[in-house]
């Protein structure tokens, strides 16, 4: 796809806008693309990056990524007019709410991007959204205003430099009336959420991360275990989104 823009959002988080042919109509929120780094000679493994936003009419796809290593550094250097090889959309994204009622969306760090496309889709269906986004500090916050157009947003930072201090679970308080929870972020956050909502009948969906090779379900590199640890699930193919009852968090 063609690079249309590549902008810095925070000190180490960037957004890459791509245009061109892509199976947009197949995209569900929470799916990812597998990005080829250079021509793949030095870096044979593609990098999994969530679809942060996708517009079938304007034919654009946006990826929000934190620069952590060689692959994401290469992504940061891409300039408008260059092309990038992305494979996708891959995996299974967030399913539509199974029950009526308000929806809670919780994101942490670079788990936030896929939740933006999700919030857009649910907002368009007139679903009431509570959105809680957790970041390290004020310099780490991105897209708070964009999310603000789609639902009621609470920002939390670990150091309290903006929004509520502390972890996202603390921001939830005693309120437990949501019908559905969608979440993406560090494992520790997903676990804390599951514990927080223990005993309620909220339906929870979580998006998981693992190191990947093929990205399409063929190599069994990226597995996690199902709830009773009797079978493996491939995060790239069966996930990355799972119902939190289905897997071992």
């Amino acid at each position: 796809m063609l690079v249309q823009g590549n902008r810095r959002l925070t000190s180490d988080i960037w957004v890459l806008d791509l245009v061109g042919e892509f199976p947009y109509d197949k995209v569900t929120p929470g799916q990812f693309v597998h990005v080829l780094i250079g021509d793949g000679t030095a870096h044979p493994l593609r990098r999994p990056i969530s679809i942060a936003s996708c517009d079938p009419v304007g034919k654009t796809l946006s990826l929000v990524y934190r620069v952590v290593g060689d692959g994401t550094k290469w992504m940061r250097e891409r300039r408008p007019g260059e092309t990038i090889d992305v494979l996708g959309p891959l995996g299974h994204g967030f399913p539509a709410p199974q029950r009526p009622g308000p929806v809670l969306i919780v994101g942490g760090g670079v788990g936030v991007p896929p939740l933006y496309q999700l919030a857009k889709v649910l907002h368009a269906q007139n679903v009431e959204l509570d959105i809680v986004l957790g970041f390290k500090d004020h310099g780490d916050v991105f897209w708070a205003d964009e999310f603000g157009k789609l639902g009621h947003v609470t920002i939390c930072t670990e150091d309290g430099s903006v929004g509520r201090p502390g972890f996202v679970t603390e921001a939830l308080g005693d309120d437990r009336d949501w019908a559905t929870l969608y979440s993406c972020g560090p494992r520790s956050m997903l676990k804390a959420l599951k514990t927080h909502f223990q005993g309620t009948d909220i339906q929870g969906y979580v998006s998981l991360e693992e190191r990947m090779a093929c990205g399409i379900g063929a190599c069994w590199g990226c597995t996690c275990e199902n709830a009773d640890q009797s079978e493996a699930r491939r995060i790239c193919k069966d996930g990355p989104v799972f119902s939190w009852e289905e897997i071992q968090l």
């Binding site: 080829l36 000679t41 693992e210 090779a213 093929c214 399409i216 190599c219 069994w220 597995t223 275990e225």
Partner: protein, 303 residues
């Protein structure tokens, strides 16, 4: 000029010499969403064991410069599921099937090979005696000539299909293992499996892979693999399937010149899901450009 890509590995006839390598292609379903598997010479499926295996803890893959490490740990759905679900599906895709078999004991290997042969769903067996990841099995069978010969002899008694033995590169003299496999009754040899490696994360100061070590594959191992195919081809007159870092038609031709009759493509599938059909076309173009009508014309030219 029209070139003939067909190749006979003993009694196993392939329409071209390129097939995906075991463990890098599952049982074919995922890549069939990208192209028709009937374009391939054959499909070599994931190692199949008697019982289902979950494999090693994650992380179990890691990138290294021009290669990767894996410690999947022979995760697979087990013989029964492979026979009832995977092979019947693959058998409908109009492509020869080579089943890669692994086990913890000689008896495991024999039972799996016996059942696969009896099912009538496969065209050849590839015995994985070289997987470096599983503490119990794998390694022991593939590194000592006498042990390997015993295993191949035992499997031979139940194996009614062409039997390929896949050699480990983690040995002192790979020719000795090739000779042992041949004298045990192998119909052919595949090589190489992965080289044992390690990567350390500078932040955690610990190995990246939960298993600590993993098998190195991809472009980084190609010169080692070419040398080993050459060394084995010099000493053993059996059909050889060569592999290790093949990404292009030129790479495939290089293995043929080293003495391979056919090739497998592993890690390249992850970089480019269309790697196998692309390599077939590149090999065809190379032969056309060089005026090579039949792959046999260049086989072993470097020996």
């Amino acid at each position: 000029m029209s070139v003939d890509l067909r190749v006979n590995l003993g009694s196993l006839s392939l329409k071209n010499p390129v097939m995906p390598a075991s463990g890098c292609f599952g049982f074919g379903r995922e890549y069939s969403e990208y192209y028709s598997l009937s374009a391939l010479g054959a499909v070599v499926v994931k190692a199949t064991t008697l019982h289902p295996r979950l494999g090693n803890p994650t992380p179990r893959v890691s990138e290294v410069t021009s290669g990767m490490l894996n410690a999947i740990g022979l995760a697979n759905p087990g013989l029964e599921n492979v026979l009832s679900e995977e092979l019947p599906w693959l058998a409908r895709q109009d492509v020869p099937i080579i089943v890669n078999v692994a086990g913890d004991t000689m008896d495991d290997y024999c039972q799996v090979v016996d059942r696969i042969c009896q099912s009538g769903l496969a065209h050849a067996i590839e015995l994985n005696v070289s997987c470096p990841n599983v503490q119990l099995g794998g390694l022991a069978f593939g590194v000592e000539a006498a042990v390997l010969r015993n295993l191949v002899e035992a499997v031979r008694t139940v194996c009614t299909l062409p039997l390929f033995v896949k050699l480990s590169p983690n040995v002192t003299r790979i020719q000795d293992l090739a000779i042992a496999a041949a004298s045990g009754g192998a119909d052919g040899l595949s090589l190489i499996n992965t080289l044992i490696g390690m990567k350390i994360d500078l932040n955690t100061r610990r190995p990246v892979l939960a298993n600590r070590t993993g098998g190195l594959s991809g472009r980084a191992i190609k010169p080692v693999a070419v040398r080993m195919v050459h060394d084995v081809a010099k000493e053993v007159r059996l059909p050889i399937i060569g592999m290790g870092g093949i990404y292009t038609g030129h790479d495939a031709a290089e293995f043929v010149m080293a003495g391979a009759w056919a090739v497998e493509v592993g890690t390249a599938n992850f970089t480019d899901p269309y790697a196998c059909p692309r390599i077939i076309e590149e090999l065809r173009s190379f032969m056309e450009a060089e005026g090579i009508k039949n792959i046999e014309e260049i086989r072993g030219s470097a020996l």
